[in-house]
C-alpha cells in the first residue's frame, strides 16, 4: 500500500477504490492485545462470547505483525513505554492505536504523583480513540471500536491530500 498512498487525483475509479479500501480495512481490524493492567480483564471480557468482538470482525492477535489495531489497555510504566513504542513500530501500516482506560489516556490515578507511570500513551505513540473508564466496561470499549471503524471508513488512502 505504501507506494500507492496519496498518489492519485480524485476521480470516480479512485474514489470507489478508496471506499472499498476503507470498507475492507474497517470491517476487519485485527487487534493486538496489549493488556498491561486491570483493563486487560475487561478487554478479555469484550473478546469473549458475551460481547463477542468477532461480530465486528476483530480477532485478537498476539503478534504485532498481524495486527491493525493496538489496544493499549492499562497502566503504561516508563519501562513498558519503550516496549509499547517498539511494538507499535513493528506493526504493519495502516496501524491504529486505542488508548483504553484512564491510566493509558493520561496516567489516571497516577497522573500527579506517579513517578513510574507514563502520563498518557499519546506521548509515545499517536492515539486514534480514547476510551474512558477505570476500567471501561466492554460496552464502552466496543463503542470506541465502532468509533474507530467510522474513522477508518472516512479515510481516503489513495487520493492526493489537498490542503
Amino acid at each position: 500500500m505504501g507506494l500507492l498512498e496519496h498518489k492519485f487525483q480524485d476521480n470516480v475509479v479512485v474514489a470507489s477504490m478508496d471506499k472499498l479500501l476503507g470498507w475492507a480495512r474497517s470491517t476487519s481490524p485485527w487487534f493486538f492485545q496489549f493488556g498491561l493492567a486491570c483493563c486487560a480483564i475487561e478487554m478479555m471480557a469484550t473478546a469473549a462470547s458475551r460481547h463477542d468482538l468477532m461480530r465486528i470482525g476483530m480477532i485478537p492477535r498476539s503478534s504485532p505483525r498481524q495486527a491493525d489495531v493496538m489496544i493499549v489497555a492499562g497502566t503504561v510504566t516508563m519501562k513498558m513505554a519503550l516496549r509499547v513504542k517498539k511494538l507499535y513500530e513493528q506493526m504493519a501500516n495502516p496501524k491504529y492505536v486505542i488508548s483504553m482506560g484512564s491510566c493509558a489516556t493520561s496516567g489516571g490515578p497516577y497522573w500527579q504523583y506517579g513517578y513510574h507511570v507514563l502520563k498518557g500513551v499519546d506521548l509515545v505513540v499517536p492515539v486514534d480513540v480514547y476510551v474512558p473508564g477505570c476500567p471501561p466496561r466492554p460496552e464502552a470499549l466496543i463503542e470506541g471500536l465502532l468509533k474507530l471503524q467510522e474513522k477508518i471508513q472516512a479515510e481516503r488512502p489513495l487520493t492526493k491530500k489537498t490542503a
Partner: protein, 195 residues
C-alpha cells in the same frame, strides 16, 4: 456394484445427519445464545455492592455530572477527590443575588443562598477513577454519577470515547468573559464594592 451403492448411501446418509444438526442450530439460533448484539441491546448497568443498604447512596460508575445551578462552590468534592481531577475556582458575589449575565442563580433548589460564583468547574474524566467519593460530601447533592439512582436527573452515560483527549475534560462552569465576572464580584482590591 453393491459396494459402490453402499458408498453412495453412506455419503448421503452421513451428509443428512450432519446437515440435520446444522439446520437444528440454525432454527434454534436464539436459544442458549449468550451474545449481546451490543449497539442494539445492552445489559442494564449493575449498581455497585458496597456492603450495606445503598438506597440513599449514589453507587454507580459512570460519567460525573454537576448541576451548576445547585453548586455553592464549597470545594468539598475538590478536597475529597483522591486523584485531584476536579478543579474549581470561585469569586465572591452578593449572597443570594441572581446575576443573569454570568448565568448565576442566587438560591439553590434546596433553598441555600449562594455566596460564590463559580468561574471554573472542570472535571477531567481521563483522570477520574470513578470512586464516587465526591458525591457523598456534597451538601446540595449536585455532583453525581449519571444513571442508576440518578437516572431521573441525568440519563446514564458511560460510553463517551473521544478522538481528542481534551474533549474528555468536562467544563461545567457557565461561559462568562472576564469583564462580566469582574462586574459580578462584590470584592474589589480587598474592599467590598456595595454594602
Amino acid at each position: 456394484m453393491r459396494a459402490y451403492l453402499r458408498t453412495i448411501w453412506e455419503s448421503v446418509s452421513t451428509l443428512v445427519t450432519g446437515m440435520t444438526i446444522t439446520w437444528r442450530h440454525m432454527v434454534n439460533i436464539r436459544k442458549g445464545n449468550v451474545t449481546l448484539q451490543y449497539p442494539e441491546e445492552r445489559w442494564p448497568r449493575p449498581e455497585r455492592d458496597i456492603g450495606f443498604d445503598q438506597d440513599d447512596y449514589n453507587v454507580i460508575r459512570s460519567r460525573l455530572h454537576v448541576d451548576m445551578d445547585d453548586c455553592i462552590g464549597c470545594l468539598k468534592c475538590e478536597r475529597v477527590c483522591p486523584v485531584d481531577c476536579i478543579k474549581i475556582e470561585t469569586e465572591k458575589v452578593d449572597k443570594g443575588e441572581d446575576i443573569p449575565d454570568v448565568g448565576h442563580t442566587g438560591i439553590t433548589s434546596n433553598g441555600t443562598k449562594k455566596a460564590l460564583l463559580l468561574t471554573r468547574f472542570d472535571i477531567d474524566m481521563t483522570e477520574c477513577c470513578y470512586c464516587n467519593l465526591c458525591t457523598y460530601p456534597c451538601p446540595e447533592e449536585c455532583i453525581y454519577m449519571t444513571g442508576g439512582p440518578n437516572s431521573e436527573k441525568h440519563p446514564i452515560d458511560y460510553e463517551f470515547s473521544q478522538f481528542d483527549r481534551n474533549d474528555m475534560v468536562y467544563r461545567f462552569a457557565k461561559e462568562a468573559s472576564e469583564e462580566q465576572v469582574e462586574k459580578a464580584t462584590c470584592v474589589k482590591n480587598g474592599e467590598k464594592k456595595n454594602g
